[in-house]
């Protein structure tokens, strides 16, 4: 079959308003079922108790109704037996063919039987023979019963009988029991039928049924209510615990559950509080450690930097006069100076990364044009580019690319990526591309140098990782640059990723969300350069 067209009959029902409503109701129930323990317990209790009540009810009604009817039947049959003699004597002389005689006989039998007293309740009788029928016109003696009686046996059957006088006018017949017995007379075989209306029994059974079903429904309601009450008692502390846990998770470590009594739930509350307490202590310890670390970092920073400043000034002074020193001394001054630069850079990077480790790094965000930041990073690397003989090519859009960012950090990332690209670019051009879309902005830095070996793209961000030690190194990198850059990108909720292939160069991509706090889903620029895709 082809795809269904609108209005095609095969699923008309699925769009029917009632079906749609039903589905919606079912959906909301399903979700409620999944969400609420109380609903689950109550529903289960309802279903199970309803089934049990139904089974017991049916059994009970069946048993009692059967008993009532059996008693009635036995009484009716004994009535018939008792009446047999009297009927036989009355009917003995009646001509089966004479209607008037039969009617008289019927009256006679009734008065006889009534006089003899009865335990089987009200009844009327009918006499049938092959030629005469005194059965009231509203009812007919069932053929199956007549056949049995005609075969000269006492038989009974449930069948409609004429309504007794007490019944309402509209009802001409009511359910009843007919007992038939053969009475042999001189002129032939009469069939004598006792018609017992079962009105009283039916009323009793109906009353019984009503009572059973009503008390059953009451029982079900009671069970449901009880189960709701019990689950509520269990669920409420659990809900309180869940609420407290989520507050704890949100950072409010002072949250505790109020515990009463000493039952299982109180125990749950107490262990929960113990857990929260130990969590709080642990976090406080870590916070103290972090504060200590920050403090230490700050102190080391100050204590190291002041003498370093003095050394730096002294070395600058010596460097200024190096022409006047003999050769070896002059070279020593130069070495002192360059190594001091390296030492400084390393110290700065170490302090920066320890700030990240201590969680002390904070964003100083504002909206700025990414192109401006790129321009600054390019400007800062122009001298290095010249020394490597590499060209820096910037591909950027015409319009401003406004991004919420800490420009200082982003510029540092880009400066670092450019420095790396120039150091490893073997004098070939380095391309910087800016891309943006609605949610994100990206910068890629591409070089065409030695590239990366398989698997190295994930390693380059590791601290003090060195790719190829034989590479020319003019920047004297500290080995922490990319690690810091990665932290800077993460601080922005951004990405910093690397792609590289042996002898095809490498590409680094920085992606930043344009609005602070947004989650990145994609980058406007591909990580793998377009000309390298195959």
């Amino acid at each position: 079959m082809t795809s269904p067209l609108p209005g095609e009959p095969q699923d008309w029902w699925s769009r029917h308003p009632a079906v749609v409503r039903g589905k919606r109701w079912l959906d909301s129930f399903t979700s409620l079922w999944r969400r609420s323990l109380q609903v689950r317990v109550a529903t289960t209790a309802t279903v199970i108790s309803a089934v049990i009540v139904l089974i017991i009810g049916v059994f009970l009604v069946e048993q009692v109704a059967g008993g009532i009817l059996r008693a009635k039947r036995e009484a009716a049959i004994s009535q018939a037996r008792v009446g047999l003699e009297s009927a036989r004597s009355v009917l003995g002389g009646v001509d089966a063919g004479v209607v008037a005689d039969v009617a008289d006989a019927q009256q006679q039998i009734i008065s006889n039987l009534t006089a003899s007293g009865t335990s089987a309740g009200l009844f009327s009788i009918a006499i049938e023979s092959s030629t005469v029928s005194s059965t009231p016109s509203a009812v007919a003696i069932p053929k199956a019963l007549r056949r049995k009686v005609q075969q000269n046996t006492l038989a009974w059957q449930y069948a409609p009988v004429p309504a007794p006088a007490t019944a309402s006018a509209e009802e001409r017949t009511v359910r009843g029991l007919i007992v038939g017995e053969p009475v042999s007379a001189r002129t032939g075989l009469f069939e004598l039928y006792y018609l017992f209306p079962l009105t009283a029994e039916q009323q009793t059974i109906a009353l019984l049924q009503r009572t059973v079903w009503l008390s059953g429904a009451g029982l079900v309601l009671l069970i449901v209510g009880t189960s709701l009450l019990i689950t509520r008692q269990v669920v409420r502390p659990v809900r309180v615990a869940a609420r407290t846990a989520s507050k704890l998770a949100a950072g409010d470590l002072s949250q505790r559950i109020r515990v009463r009594g000493s039952d299982d739930l109180a125990r749950l509350g107490r262990s929960f509080n113990d857990m929260a307490g130990s969590l709080q202590r642990q976090i406080k310890r870590l916070e103290d450690l972090s504060r200590l670390q920050q403090r230490f970092t700050s102190d080391v920073s100050h204590e190291l930097r002041t003498p370093l400043t003095t050394i730096r000034m002294a070395s600058e002074l010596l460097l200024a006069y190096r022409e006047e020193f003999p050769g070896e001394l002059a070279r020593s001054v130069e070495l002192l100076h360059t190594e001091l630069d390296r030492f400084e850079a390393l110290l700065a990077d170490l302090l920066e990364i320890s700030r990240y480790d201590a969680g002390a790094a904070k964003l100083d965000s504002e909206t700025a044009d990414l192109r401006g930041v790129v321009a600054l990073a390019v400007q800062a690397n122009e001298v290095l580019a010249m020394r490597h003989g590499s060209e820096l090519i910037v591909n950027q859009p015409e319009e401003p690319v406004l991004v919420d960012m800490d420009s200082r950090r982003v510029e540092r990332v880009l400066r670092n990526l450019l420095g790396n690209a120039l150091d490893h670019g073997e004098g070939k051009p380095v391309e910087i591309t800016i891309g943006w879309d609605e949610n994100a902005a990206a910068v890629t830095v591409r070089d065409h140098g030695v590239g990366l070996r398989p698997g190295e793209a994930g390693l380059v961000f590791n601290r003090f990782w060195r790719g190829d030690t034989s590479r020319s190194r003019l920047t004297g990198g500290t080995g922490l640059g990319l690690a810091i850059s990665l932290e800077d990108a993460r601080l922005h909720d951004g990405w910093l990723q690397a792609w590289g292939q042996r002898r095809h160069g490498a590409q680094f991509r920085l992606t930043l969300p344009r609005r602070a706090g947004h989650t990145l889903l994609s980058s406007p620029l591909p990580l793998t350069p377009l000309d390298e895709e195959d």
């Binding site: 700050s298 920073s301 100050h302 930097r305 002041t306 003498p307 370093l308 400043t309 003095t310 050394i311 730096r312 000034m313 002294a314 600058e316 002074l317 400084e344 700065a348 302090l351 700030r355 002390a360 904070k362 100083d364 909206t367 700025a368 044009d369 401006g372 600054l376 400007q379 800062a380 401003p400 406004l402 420009s407 200082r408 510029e411």
Partner: protein, 232 residues
């Protein structure tokens, strides 16, 4: 003719650094004086009347921030902080307490001297110039030669740096200045530096010249770009 050497007050508790700074500054034609204790800094400042102050942030006695505030309450003399911390909070706190600029230890002596020279630059080449900016009903008048700023007939007291910043913006009203350009023109940075310098000093300038610093009319922010002088 004997050139008058600019007087420098160095407030630093590290004697080795102070001595080395003395050597470098004397070599570069300054006349340095030293004080190692924060609590004696203000007294020394009043006595020596320096042209510029180099101030360490971590000092015994009185903290660098407090010294900075005390000096700023007295005069607009340029203050350059010597800070060992690159942390945002310390730098911003120092700038907000009135420092004009800062150098992070370990600094290069040439860099420090360049910063100092930029702050000591004399603006005597604009004789007779008067600028007017701000809303027409309440303009800000700047007498460049007399280093005077008035608004609604009242003199506004600005530090030399704030004055330079205002003049730079007022000379080209309606032109948008990026923070980088302002850093170059006012602070004398040849390379990109900390744009927070600009932000903090624009806030300080606004608190003095604006009627409501929350709704600036004289120095306007151009989102994502920088600042410009308000319409005349």
């Amino acid at each position: 003719m004997r050139v008058v050497k600019p007087r420098v007050l160095v407030v630093d508790d590290d004697s080795a650094l102070s001595e080395m700074l003395g050597i470098v500054l004397r070599n570069d034609g300054f006349e340095p004086a030293f004080v190692a204790d924060g609590s004696r800094a203000l007294g020394a400042f009043k006595e020596i009347k320096p042209d510029i102050v180099l101030l360490d942030l971590m000092l015994p006695g009185l903290s660098g921030i407090d010294v900075c505030r005390a000096i700023r309450a007295e005069s607009g003399t340029p203050i350059i902080m010597l800070t060992a911390k690159g942390d945002t909070t310390d730098v911003v706190l120092g700038l907000e307490s009135g420092a004009d600029d800062y150098v992070v230890k370990p600094f290069k002596p040439r860099e420090l001297v360049a910063r100092m020279r930029a702050r000591l630059r004399q603006h005597d080449d604009f004789v007779g110039e008067t600028l007017t900016i701000g809303p027409p009903q309440s303009p800000v008048r700047i007498d460049v030669a007399g280093h005077q700023v008035t608004r609604d007939g009242h003199a506004v007291s600005l530090t030399p740096l704030e004055f330079d910043l205002l003049v730079a913006l007022a000379r080209k009203p309606r032109q948008v200045f990026t923070r980088e350009v302002l850093l170059e023109q006012v602070w004398g940075y040849r390379h990109a530096a900390d744009t927070r310098l600009v932000n903090v000093h624009v806030q300080r300038l606004r608190s003095k010249v604006e009627r409501d610093p929350e709704k600036p009319e004289v120095v306007l922010t151009v989102r994502g770009v920088g600042y410009k002088a308000g319409p005349t």
